[in-house]
């Protein structure tokens, strides 16, 4: 599904990713953990095609295609979805309009007919159930004035509508209360398919109780310094990152 090889990237001339290698197969869940500023969001944004980051080396292959050669919208249409750590507010554009535009863009790319507003509302109704939301949210402007938790939930709603093959969740659990965390985690699990994969970036083992990872990676200083099974997350919870970053520093 996704093959990242020796990926390096800079922002504003500063090297942030220093050689990431990671393979994610269909059906898998990978967790990425690591200290603040280690490059987790950068990796996620680079995969989504954020123009602020310059890829300086390495390759990313997604479903056999060169992901780095695709425009951000092409990546999305091909099934890559990034749930932002900081979802963006778009005043003046309703959630309903935004979701339909996104949904239809994907349909169009697949050569399918666009859905009219009525049919789309039916589809939305189903998706709203998944995040346990009423229809009121649809007439509000995208994320504008949403609470932190509502923004995260809205990301999952978008994900539900777009049904991605590769979902990258960047700290979607941060800022969620206990109930919301469960709703979001259940939502993510419900959207999993044998032919889809998920990357969850998180600081907390708690989320991984709900979304159980096949592999856990620790990112530090722009590199993966440790990979392991789900028990690695528990170990990190107990020991912190220092023992790993020190080891990595010694290598670097």
């Amino acid at each position: 599904m996704l093959e990242i090889k020796n990926l390096t990237a800079t922002a504003g001339g500063v090297e942030i990713l220093r050689g990431i290698t990671l393979t994610v197969n269909a059906g898998e869940v990978h967790a990425i953990m690591g200290p603040n500023g280690s490059g987790k969001s950068t990796l996620a944004q680079v995969l989504a095609g954020h123009p602020a980051y310059e890829v300086t080396g390495g390759s990313v292959t997604y479903k056999g295609q060169d992901l780095l050669d695709m425009e951000p919208e092409e990546r999305a249409q091909a099934g890559v979805f990034l749930a932002f750590q900081y979802p963006v507010e778009i005043p003046g554009v309703t959630n309903a309009y935004f979701l339909r535009a996104a949904y239809n863009a994907k349909r169009k790319a697949q050569g399918l007919e666009e859905l009219d507003p009525m049919d789309f509302l039916d589809l939305l109704e189903e998706k709203l159930k998944l995040v346990e939301w009423g229809p009121e949210i649809m007439s509000r402007a995208v994320n504008a004035g949403f609470s932190g938790g509502e923004k995260k939930r809205n990301e999952i709603l978008q994900m539900a509508v777009l049904e991605p093959s590769l979902a990258i969740l960047d700290e979607t659990d941060s800022g969620l209360d206990i109930d919301a965390l469960k709703i979001v985690a259940d939502g993510v699990n419900a959207l999993r398919r044998p032919d889809s994969a998920t990357i969850v970036v998180t600081h907390y083992q708690r989320l991984l109780n709900h979304i159980v990872p096949d592999q856990v990676h620790v990112l530090a200083g722009g590199r993966i310094v440790r990979s392991g099974g789900k028990e690695l997350a528990l170990e990190l919870e107990e020991r912190g990152y220092e023992w790993l970053t020190e080891a990595a520093g010694a290598v670097a």
Partner: protein, 443 residues
């Protein structure tokens, strides 16, 4: 024509009263003395009217035979809305209709009113449009106007549907000038809404220099919306000057899309306590269009509020100008005023001069102002793209979102819908021109 009767042409035997003749003489003299303003004058610094003088335009010729079909692209709202049509400055009775107005309402041709009931507008016509910045334009208009609309409502009269006044220029207006003159007199607690549309049936050089004076008695409410869609080669000069008594409310909207060079003056004086004014505007410019708005809100009484939001979207080599002044007199304690001008540049060659100004001579007031000029934010653009929305479409969406909220301030839904359509059409063309900033946005 009158509110209740069928449209009739003005009776030929009558003549204008002496005070109107004098107004015309004074106007002519003022225009002779001042000529068109130059960029050496502070109020006209960014707007050069010399192309108008150079064009040497004579009076517009009478129109050819206009039909309902000619108007179709410019109509909106409901069929039963009162409608007045002027072509090349002349009333078109056959295309106008004023059924359903309440008794006592006097809505129709100003020229006609000046013949049979001039006293109704004597305190307003020529008395309100006095701002020095527009003196030459207003003078020229007074000297040359043929007609325009008059809305005179007695106290308590409510006209709850918008009155749509169309000023149409056909091919016979080319190389000519039209001077509409309009008067609105609202008695205490009267309510009126007027939409002025300036539209062209033919492309070419022409001038519109229009003046509207509105006198709002205590508690009156006036919604005024000007839709400017003149030929992109033409000149459009417009002045609205309003006087507001106690607790009256002016809601003004200026939509500017046409003309090579346009200047809209909107001036209001909050003369009685508790008066409230909201001034909104949206201007769209492309090519080499020059679009200028000057507003002036005089707080001349205590406890008045004013709220102003103007937005501009400029593409190509267009030049936008916004000059807004809020002037708070010493007596105007407890003034609450807020003024905002936001501009979105879709190209690197478009530009804006914006100058929101506060002049405050009272000490207990709450006034703020601000202006922004910028291109589309890269972050929301990427967010849209990351959801699969193509860059060009995302740009159109975000540009639309930038401006759409200000349109919502118009009270009549059909007018809002119409302007939304115009804006969407404009944005689509901007997208096709490809001069937009898609892909060029930086963070």
């Amino acid at each position: 024509m009158t509110a209740t009767g069928t449209p009739v042409a003005p009776a030929p035997r009558a003549v204008e009263p002496g005070w109107v003749a004098q107004l015309r003489r004074e106007g002519a003299a003022r225009f002779e003395g001042l000529r068109l303003p130059t960029t050496r004058e502070e109020d006209w610094r960014f707007t050069d009217l010399s192309p108008i003088a150079r064009a040497e335009l004579g009076p517009a010729r009478a129109p050819g035979g206009l039909t309902e079909a000619d108007l179709a692209p410019f109509l909106f709202g409901h069929a039963e809305w009162p409608r007045l049509v002027f072509a090349n400055g002349r009333l078109q009775p056959a295309l106008s209709r004023l059924a359903g107005l309440p008794a006592g309402a006097r809505v129709g041709s100003l020229a006609e009113l000046l013949l049979d009931a001039p006293e109704l507008v004597e305190d307003t016509l020529g008395k309100l449009a006095v701002q020095p910045a527009a003196a030459a334009l207003v003078g020229q208009n007074a000297s040359a106007f043929i007609d325009g609309y008059a809305v005179v409502l007695p106290a308590g009269t409510v006209v709850d549907t918008p009155i749509h006044v169309l000023f149409v220029a056909d091919g016979r207006a080319l190389r000519g000038a039209v001077f509409p003159r309009n008067v609105v007199v609202l008695g205490a607690n009267a309510v009126a809404s007027v939409v002025e549309s300036y539209v062209a049936l033919a492309e070419g050089v022409a001038l519109t220099n229009t003046v509207t004076e509105a006198n709002l008695a205590a508690g009156a409410r006036f919604d005024h919306c000007k839709i400017q869609r003149e030929s992109v080669q033409s000149f459009h000069l417009a002045t609205l000057e309003v006087r507001q008594e106690r607790d009256s409310y002016l809601n003004s909207f200026s939509f500017a899309q046409g003309a090579a060079l346009s200047r809209t003056n909107i001036y209001t004086t909050l003369a009685g306590p508790g008066a409230h004014a909201t001034l909104y505007g949206l201007y769209l410019g492309e090519g080499r269009q020059h679009v200028d708005h000057q507003t002036r809100i005089e707080h001349a009484a205590p406890n008045c509020t004013s709220w102003e939001v103007y937005k501009g979207i400029l593409d190509g080599h267009a030049h936008g100008v916004f000059n807004g002044k809020v002037y708070v007199h010493p007596v105007a304690q407890k003034t609450d005023g807020k003024q905002t001008n936001k501009n979105l540049l879709l190209s690197e060659t478009a530009k804006v001069d914006t100058k929101p100004q506060l002049e405050i001579f009272a000490d207990d007031v709450k006034c703020t102002h601000g202006a922004t000029v910028g291109s589309l934010d890269a972050v929301p653009l990427f967010y849209c793209q990351s959801r699969g929305i193509p860059a060009a479409e995302a740009q159109t969406l975000l540009t639309y979102a930038f401006a759409a909220d200000v349109l919502e301030e118009i009270r009549s839904r059909p007018v809002v819908d119409h302007l939304e359509d115009l804006m969407r059409e404009w944005l689509m063309k901007a997208g096709q021109r490809g001069s937009g900033s898609a892909g060029k946005a930086t963070s």
